[in-house]
């Protein structure tokens, strides 16, 4: 009666092959997504010639009332790995980290994870109910929410399963796939404590249960201390309305904690005196250890980093010489204070340069510029945060947790840069 994952493998094969064909070949420069853009230049556009765009008028205003990226950026898209899930409605896709810079993720590129598809909610009929251990159960319209004092905060959101496919070993060629279940945007919304206090918390209020209005009715238990500390009900991301796939018209923001708790299409918050042990905090999002016991309520996303360029989807195409290495670092416990990088697989480390805002529970951008001599490199980065935590190696994590945890894999990633500039996902001694 109990089945192993045999059928899963059977189905996995063809789609995995498609995935690889789609441009993930290890080190295969020509097959790598993103390489297409390095096409041969057209001499007609190069000096001393004067290109058409310098001569003739371009399209006028309102050509695109809602502006879109250049057609030359058409490769910059979210991508999914079909064999991961049985249905498209309960599935995942990944942020193209290797194509982005800075610390803000554009709204249309923020990875998606739904459990019952994208709920198509109309803002007029949106309601947020607060019930349970409150003085007065309340229902808010979206308009009501916008009458509370607002805050703007930049936070990363990372799925606890980010890098989950890499627990047993290097599996996917591309930081989009190994690390792309993270994004970072500026949220505008209302501190949750204002909303809860409007209903009035009873003295025995210890937990809240946010619940989604989608067909999954996503529900989680959040301790009241966190709810009153920095949680928000957000209705804007990067200045505009939440995208439907990010919970339009309103979602919960749970800074630094696993993405599954950031309930989208938020319809209700029940206040209680004990946790609910919902399916997403028992069957899922619990971390099975080698002992057969599982950790539960593992909310915080520990410090983590990844080199986004070079990486398998972003090989070095310019040959040897001056080279820019860049990547992202983040910590659910606070601010990233330092990032080290190595080019030789950890024999020697160099402190990278963090550039741009350094905000707690937000992405940090780091750079390391070097003169590449064209030989093989083994690249790694390791992040430190202001609690004194340093990102562990994957083997250190396996030594304490085993290989069945799925979630919370924040181990150090290794990329092997080959002499031809191609990059593959490896693990090293």
């Amino acid at each position: 009666m109990s089945k192993s994952d045999t059928p899963e493998k059977g189905i996995a094969s063809p789609s995995r092959r498609n995935l690889l064909k789609a441009g993930l070949a290890a080190g295969g420069l020509a097959a790598t997504a993103g390489f297409a853009r390095a096409a041969e230049p057209d001499p007609y556009n190069l000096p001393p010639n004067v290109a058409d765009w310098s001569r003739y008028l371009g399209v006028g205003v309102d050509n695109a009332p809602y502006g879109m990226p250049s057609e030359h950026e058409s490769e910059v898209v979210r991508r999914s790995v079909e064999w991961l899930t049985a249905s498209r409605e309960s599935s995942i896709n990944f942020t193209p980290l290797h194509d982005l810079d800075g610390i803000i993720t554009p709204n249309g590129l923020c990875f998606e994870r739904h459990h019952g598809g994208v709920a198509e909610m109309n803002p007029t009929d949106y309601r947020l109910m607060i019930n349970g251990l409150v003085d007065k159960p309340l229902i808010f319209t979206l308009e009501d929410l916008k009458r509370f004092p607002r805050e703007n905060r930049l936070y990363f959101l990372e799925c606890a399963a980010n890098s989950g496919m890499e627990w047993r070993g290097a599996q996917l060629n591309g930081c989009q796939f190994t690390h792309g279940m993270v994004h970072c945007v500026m949220y505008t919304g209302v501190p949750l404590k204002y909303i809860l206090e409007e209903a009035g918390l009873k003295t025995n209020a210890k937990w809240i249960m946010p619940e989604g209005g989608d067909a999954a009715g996503m529900n989680r238990s959040v301790p009241i201390e966190k709810a009153l500390d920095d949680c928000m009900v957000a209705f804007k991301m990067n200045g505009e309305a939440l995208r439907p796939e990010q919970g339009y018209p309103a979602r919960l923001v749970v800074p630094g904690w696993e993405g599954n708790m950031w309930v989208k299409w938020l319809r209700r918050i029940e206040v209680g005196d004990q946790p609910w042990h919902a399916r997403e905090e028992t069957s899922k999002y619990t971390d099975l250890l080698a002992s057969g016991k599982a950790r539960r309520f593992t909310w915080v996303m520990d410090a983590k980093s990844v080199i986004t360029n070079p990486s398998p989807q972003a090989p070095i195409t310019h040959g040897k010489g001056q080279t820019v290495l860049t990547g992202l670092a983040w910590s659910g416990n606070g601010r990233v204070t330092r990032v080290d990088v190595t080019l030789d697989g950890g024999k020697n480390w160099h402190q990278a340069r963090i550039d741009g805002p350094s905000l707690p529970k937000a992405l940090h951008r780091f750079y390391f510029e070097f003169d590449w001599d064209g030989s093989d490199l083994l690249l790694q980065s390791r992040a430190y945060d202001d609690t004194g935590y340093v990102q562990p190696t994957k083997d250190e994590l396996r030594a304490v947790r085993g290989e069945n945890s799925i979630y919370h894999n924040n181990g150090i990633q290794t990329w092997h840069v080959m002499a031809n500039g191609g990059v593959e996902n490896v693990e090293i001694s």
Partner: protein, 220 residues
């Protein structure tokens, strides 16, 4: 519970005060009526809070399950194709391929009721009656050998008397579980003599099943 709660307990006291100063009663929102709450208040807790009145037997559950669930989860909850397996998996949690099911993994029965009513059948959520839901849960208990009597009837009255096999299988978050900088200062120069590549991601045209261990590790 966790180090965060310890840290946050202090902050929360302050937040309450600050919150009161920042917002307090702004006169926003309208009072929710009992009828409005009843329509949305679908959660069920391990202590039984939230259970509606109702009852259903294993035999009744088998019928509803065959009609509404088996196409994805298999007649015996063994899972069809790649859809989730809902039964079996005993003694697999320490193995290379743990099979986490209601019977082998889930700590509380309330989660089964809560989740099935709110999310299933996939694509027609919140459509089951309480009696149907009790019946399905009874059937799943039977398929997982948690109850062995095929005449068993589950109701809001006997619900909390059922204990799940893996209730004690969970521990609280005890991270950080790797050394802090204060414990082990990370090495910067001449840290190792030799470095070897030990693992590589799959490359194009390698048979995906070649080393079965990594096949399709799910993100769920």
């Amino acid at each position: 519970m966790s180090r965060f709660l310890k840290v946050l307990t202090v902050a929360a006291g302050v937040s309450l005060v600050a919150g009161a100063a920042g917002a307090g009663k702004l006169g926003l929102g309208t009072e929710a009526t009992p009828e409005e709450i009843a329509g949305w208040n679908i959660d069920v807790r391990p202590d039984g809070q939230g259970l509606p009145e109702g009852r259903g037997t294993v035999a009744e559950g088998e019928v509803v399950f065959a009609e509404q669930c088996a196409v994805c989860h298999g007649d015996f909850a063994e899972g069809a194709g790649r859809w989730p397996v809902l039964a079996g998996g005993w003694d697999t949690l320490k193995s290379q391929h743990p099979v986490k099911t209601i019977g082998s993994y889930w700590p509380y029965l309330s989660t089964v009721y809560d989740y099935i009513y709110r999310s299933m059948p996939f694509g027609n959520a919140q459509s089951l009656t309480p009696d149907q839901t009790y019946a399905i849960v009874a059937y799943l208990l039977y398929m997982n050998d948690v109850v062995t009597d095929d005449e068993f009837e589950l109701s809001n009255e006997n619900f909390t008397s059922i204990r799940m096999p893996n209730e004690d299988g969970f521990i609280e978050d005890d991270r950080p579980d790797t050394p802090l900088v204060s414990e082990v200062e990370p090495c910067m120069t001449d840290c190792k003599d030799e470095v070897k590549i030990t693992k590589r991601a799959r490359i194009l045209d390698v048979t995906p099943d070649e080393d079965g261990d990594t096949a399709g590790i799910s993100v769920d």
